[in-house]
Structure formats: C-alpha cells, structure tokens
Amino acid sequence: MALLLCRKRAREPYFFEKLQLSLGSLRELCYVIRRYPALCMDGLLTQELIRWLSAQLEEGILAERLNKAAGAGEEESFLLSMILEEGDYYSPAEIKSFQEEYRRLKGLEKEAFKKETGRLYMEAGRPENALGELSGLPELYQERRRNAGDPAERNRLSVEEADCYCDMAEIHMLLSDRGSAMAMLEKAQALSGSIRAQELQYLLDGSGKLPEDRRRALDGLKTSAAAAAEGSRALREVQRIFSYDDDKSFAMAETMISNWKNEYRRMNQ
C-alpha cells in the first residue's frame, strides 16, 4: 500500500500510433510498456519519443541516458527497462518480470508472436489492428505445412490455422461483419472439424450439428450478450444526451438549412 506522487504532465502528448493513444506522462508510458510489451517492441522507442521525454516531461537526464545507451548498442529491453526504472511506477520485481516477458516474446516463433500481438490489440480495444495482425498468419501456417514432412505436425498446423480463422471470425463478429465471419468459419471447418468453429457458426446463424445441451448453453450466452448490448446502447444514448454540444448542433443545423436552400434553388431553376 502506498501513494505515488504524480510527476509533470506533458503539454503536448506523445501519440503512440499502434494503440492510437496519446500519452501524457511518464507513468502512462511505463504502463503501456509493461502492459503491451509486444506492441512496444521495434517501434515505440524512437528519437521522437526521446525528444518528447526531454522537451515535454523535462526528463533530460533520462533522454541523455537513453541516447547514450542506444549509441552503445544496448538492447531494446535494456532501454525500455531504463524508462520503467526512471518512471518510479513499477517495483524492481515488476520490472524484472517485464524483462522476462520481453525475453519470452523475443524467443517466440513468428506465428506465435503475431498471435500474441493480436491478443494484445484485442485487449487494448483495437480489433481492426488485431485483424490486420492475424490476417497474415494463415499464409505462414500453410507454408510451414507444405514444408512439414511429419503428418502429425501437418495436422497440428492445420488445427492451429483453423483456430486462427476462428479468431478472425470472432473479430469480424465483433465488428458486425457477418459475411467475413462466415467466410472465415467455412475455411476453419474445411481444415478441421473444429468444435469452436461449429459453435461460432451456431451463434451466427443457428446452424451446425451441436448436442442439445451445448445449444442451450449457447442460446443462454446469446441472450445475455444481447441484453448487455442493449444496456450499453442505452448508456451511450444517455452519454450522448449529456454531452450534447450546442455549438456543434447549431453548426449542423446551419449546414442542413443551407443544403435545403440550395436544393430549393436548384428545383426552381
């Protein structure tokens, strides 16, 4: 139990494109590094970020140390750990666990790393980015399957590829793209008789050969999801009413009236 003292906030935030997120303090940067390590690898630590640390957060010493370490060829994990240490947000044990996680991610195969990245994008509420990350995966699995001699290995890769299609189908469902979701599920079912694919299909259109108890469970899931969605829609509507912007609505009304006037003129010409 403790209280941390907040440090200087940036006047101009740093925009982290991968997460479409504006970062305003060193603590927020530390959070992003430790929470989404795979997304921070090869891309977050740029000269622009170091300049921002120095100019906006008055972390000149940290910026200088980062530049020095980068110049000396230190690894990225070392540089990111330097930021975490300076941020005084995580304990030494937490920083150590970040370093271990970084090493684990570095050791992952390309496919597993992409999956991990997709998972983190989903956790960060960026399904489009997750889809982009996963869409290259089937090709990688197919290539490896072609080169694999062992039938068991080929079978395992097929299952993984089908699983990847299921992941993508779920994201399409989340984005209300029913057609693409169906296409993904068809591909998954063509590769293996995946139960997950059958369940997703049942959720989508009510088809598929599933045992009765499983159907009932999925129906219950569907009902509660629909209720939650309705609640969320109502909440959004309340928020919209409360955040009603007079200026914006007047501007919109002005545009509408001028459009009507133009239409009227055109009709009379």
């Binding site: 209280l3 941390l4 003292l5 907040c6």
Partner: protein, 406 residues
C-alpha cells in the same frame, strides 16, 4: 528603497504608516463629500465640513463594507467598497507626500478580525483605487503585532509581551511569546476584546477616570497573572494621555518596560509589506490567527522509500491559500492526510478520505487530485477528485470532499 505602507483600519479610526516616516498618522475613519463639488474630506476635516453644512459625512465604513451597505451622499449612492477605497486613498495621499497611491510597491492593511470574506472585500475595494491585487496584503492585528515587536530590540521580547489597545469603545488585550527550542523559533500572538471594558468618554470626568483606572488595573492583574513579561505596549486613542491611569501604570511598570506606540499595528503592517516577497526565509515561524499552526502532509512513496509530502507548513498564511497534489494510490482505497500541530503537546490527527464510489481500475491506474484550502481560521476543506489515467482510463468525475474543524 521600496515604497511600502501599512494601515491599521477599524470602524472608528485609520492609522497610516509609510516606509521611512518618522511616525504613524491617525485619522478618524470618517469621510465627507462636498454637497456641490466632488471634493472629499477625511477625518477631522470631514467633521468640520459636516458641521459647517458644506459636506455630508459617513462613518463605520468597515461595517458598511462587510454588510454590503451603501450611503447616499449629495444624491449619489456609494457602496461600502467605494467609500472604504476612498477612505484609504485619502489617508494614504496625506502621508505619501506627493507620491501617487499607485506608486506603492506594497500596501498591507491590518484589521482586527481576519474574516476571509471581509479580507476579500477589502482587497477588492483597495484594488479599485489603483493598486494591483498582487501588491495588496491583509493581516490581522496579531500578525502586525508580531511583525512590529520582532523588529524591535530583542530585550523587549526575551519573555512575553503584552499589549493593551484602548480604543474609543473597547479595550483589547494581546499577548505575544517567542517559543524557542527548535532550530527555527516560533512566535505566537493572540488577542481578544476584554469583557470588563469601558468607553473613553468616561475619561472626561474625575469619577470616570478613577473608574477607568480601576478597571484597567483589575484587567491587567487578571490577564497578566502568572506570566513573565519583558515589555508592555500601550496603544490606542485612550492612551494618548495616561494621567488617568496611575494605578494601572504602577502595576504594569513593575520590573518591565512599558512603551506607548499609537501606530503599532500600522507600523507592523508596513514591516509586513516590506518583508513580503523577499526571497530570504523568515527568521521565525508565525503563529497567529492568519497563519496555520500545523503541518499538512501526505505520506508518499518515492523510489521505494516512504517520504512526507508537505502541503502546508506552520506559519503559512491560510487566506487565499490553495494547495494541490496529484497522487496515485497503489493497493489502497483511501488517502490519509496528516495534521501535525507545531505544539508538541498536541496530538497529530489523521484524516482519512475513502475512495467510495470511485471506479475500480487496474492497479495504479487512478490518478487523484488532492486539494486543500482554508475557508477561515481553524477551518480546512479537503477534496479528492478522480483524474483517470490519461486516455487509457478517462476521468470519471467521481469526487469526495470533507470539511474539517481544526
């Protein structure tokens, strides 16, 4: 040299002291406006103009200001703020010898009771006569007393000091003491109106003078009982002559120095004006009705070590003070604010602000804005607001506040 002025302002008088002046100047706190022209008179001149029928007089201006009252003079209605501003301006101009009021580097006004509303109204009234708000200060008589005494020979404040302030209507008693024993000594002062008081009108008759002397002596014996005093200061219109106070003087003059100084509070206010804004640390901690008598702090963790974040220190002036800190709680759903009195005999207090109805988020993802302000002497107002965590977790608007009597 800075041009500063100190004013002692009450309902019945205004005393002005300007840097480098030989002494303070007292005026009755009345002004009058000429019936025909926009000419104003102050003090005795105001009385004279009213008696001759030339001007219309108004008085008790501080009370008028406090109550939001107005006065109609020569068909014009003036607010209390306008009249107090006019009173201060006229009094200052008579002492500034050609310099304009706006030339003042700093003006400090001493009032009896440090009421925050009156202090704000008075600041606004003085601002309207052309003195920038940043150059105006309001202090209490207790603070002005400390400033004055601490600028005198140190033999005068080796032990306690007593002050008898005899105005037309009441007797006020103040005490000041230097508390040694720590690296930085503290100076405490407090004052009150004496219940067994009298109007100075009674001094016009022999029997009244005898009664006044008896009341003064009895009051002095009661108030100074058991104390060791290095000096006794007499101030106020009632002490302009001390012929009537033989018994009283015989008591107070025993083994201590007795000094008469009419502009004591005005000079103290002027010293406060001269020392304000100085980069030098004050030699003593001020403990009176305009300053805090405790330390306000929060325990924070910096690089794994517990340390104390001091929000306000003893001696800091509470009027207009607002302190602010941004904190992130880790594994705790409350914020503790500690109040440590400067007096070691008093106990510290822990004020807990629970984060009730604050959104639950990931560990360390709630930044809080802690604000403390001081609505009046002995009052503390604390508030805690959810700031969220940047764009990652936007602020929820959750807020709690707590009023504390100190």
């Amino acid at each position: 040299m800075k041009l500063c002025a100190g004013i002692d302002l009450c309902d019945d008088y205004i005393i002005v002291y300007v840097t480098g002046a030989a002494g303070a100047r007292r005026f009755p706190a009345v002004i009058s406006r000429d019936r025909r022209t926009d000419e104003w008179y102050l003090g005795e001149e105001a009385y004279a103009s009213a008696l001759s029928g030339k001007g219309i007089l108004t008085d008790r201006l501080l009370t008028m200001l406090e109550r939001g009252g107005t006065a109609t003079l020569a068909r014009h209605t003036y607010s209390g703020a306008e009249l107090v501003g006019r009173l201060v301006k006229e009094a200052l101009e008579q002492q500034l010898q050609g310099a304009a009021v706006s030339d003042l580097d700093r003006l400090v006004i001493a009032i009896r009771r440090p009421d925050p509303r009156l202090m704000e109204l008075l600041t606004e009234a003085v601002e309207d006569i052309g003195i920038n708000r940043s150059r105006i200060g309001i202090v209490s008589h207790s603070e002005a007393l400390i400033r004055f005494v601490m600028s005198q020979d140190r033999n005068l404040f080796m032990n306690s000091c007593a002050v008898f302030d005899l105005s037309d209507e009441k007797l006020y008693y103040y005490e000041m003491k230097v508390l040694r024993g720590s690296a930085k000594p503290s100076v405490a002062a407090a004052g009150e109106a004496v219940e067994t008081s009298f109007r100075t009108d009674i001094l016009s008759s022999e029997s009244g003078r005898r009664l006044a002397d008896r009341i003064m002596r009895d009051s002095a014996e009661r108030l100074m009982k058991g104390g060791i005093y290095s000096a006794v200061f007499l101030t106020g219109k009632g002490f302009q002559s001390t012929d009537w106070a033989k018994e009283f003087l015989a008591f107070v003059c025993t083994r201590r120095r007795v000094l008469y100084h009419d502009g004591l509070f005005a000079q103290g206010a002027c010293i406060a004006a001269e020392t304000a804004g100085s980069s030098e640390e004050e030699a003593y901690t001020l403990l009176c009705d305009t300053s805090l008598e405790y330390e306000l702090s929060v325990k924070v963790r910096i690089r794994g070590r517990d340390s104390k974040l001091i929000l306000a220190s003893p001696g800091d002036r509470w009027f207009g003070r607002r302190v602010h800190a941004e904190l992130i709680p880790l594994d705790q759903d409350y914020v503790d604010v500690e109040l440590t009195p400067v007096d070691p005999r008093k106990k510290s207090r822990l004020l807990r602000l629970p984060l009730t109805d604050f959104p639950e988020r990931e560990r360390g993802c709630t930044a809080l804005s802690l604000e403390a302000d001081f609505p009046g002497p002995g009052e503390l107002s604390l508030s805690l607001k959810d700031l969220g965590f940047g764009e990652i977790f936007p602020a929820s608007g959750a807020e709690i506040s707590r009023e504390v009597e100190l």
